[in-house]
Symmetry: C2
Subunit: 93 residues, 2 copies
DNA sequence: ACATAATGTCAAATATATTATACATGAACT
DNA sequence: AGTTCATGTATAATATATTTGACATTATGT
């Protein structure tokens, strides 16, 4: 586990985006650490956005474009629904 | 089949969005007609956007937000990957 | 012939996503 | 103590998505 993770108390950036009555959860952070602790900068480079964008999406500050969502899933080689999920439930699968 | 469909020759709006080397296909039009020929206006109302937005997304003029993508899938009661697909292949399944 | 409904399109305005730059913090290391 | 790395945050600028309002076309029905 690298530097920033151990002190991140998931305060502002919980990975849950509320919009209307529904929410979008994402597992980007987990996928990054599972993928040899890939850094936010590395992920940003691989999907062709800036680090700030990764921070915002991972922290669910806003809803990314579908194109970027697909590229993130592509990087981790998983289907989109294993990165983002819609509804009230948390990620369990 | 209602009015507009029979003369639409799929000229500008092919439902395929190219970005970078990859593409995003969508089946919104098919899903609409399968769903009792739901109109663009009806779909727009149900996902909370304007008709022009539905036209643009259906015609793949740009990449919608993930939130809207999820709401579209929700309306048709299918998983997201049955509405939008990423990559070179067309929809077959 | 006329009206209506569904769609495609266009241009300008607004909202939101994304970038660019900069600074702060804690962990790991020397 | 000092340095580096990964992260969180903030603000202004730019790009893109979405809205608003309007108009054209074709099909369907009267």
């Amino acid at each position: 586990m690298s530097a920033a993770e151990s002190f991140s108390i998931d305060a502002g950036s919980s990975g849950v985006l509320k919009l209307g009555m529904n929410t979008i959860h994402n597992r980007i952070r987990k996928l990054r650490f599972d993928a040899d602790e890939m850094t936010q900068q590395e992920l940003a480079d691989r999907i062709g956005v800036t680090r700030q964008t990764v921070v915002a999406i991972e922290g669910a500050k806003y809803s990314p474009s579908l194109a970027i969502a697909f590229r993130i899933a592509e990087v981790f080689a998983v289907p989109l629904d294993q990165v983002f999920r819609y509804g009230q439930e948390s990620f369990t699968g």
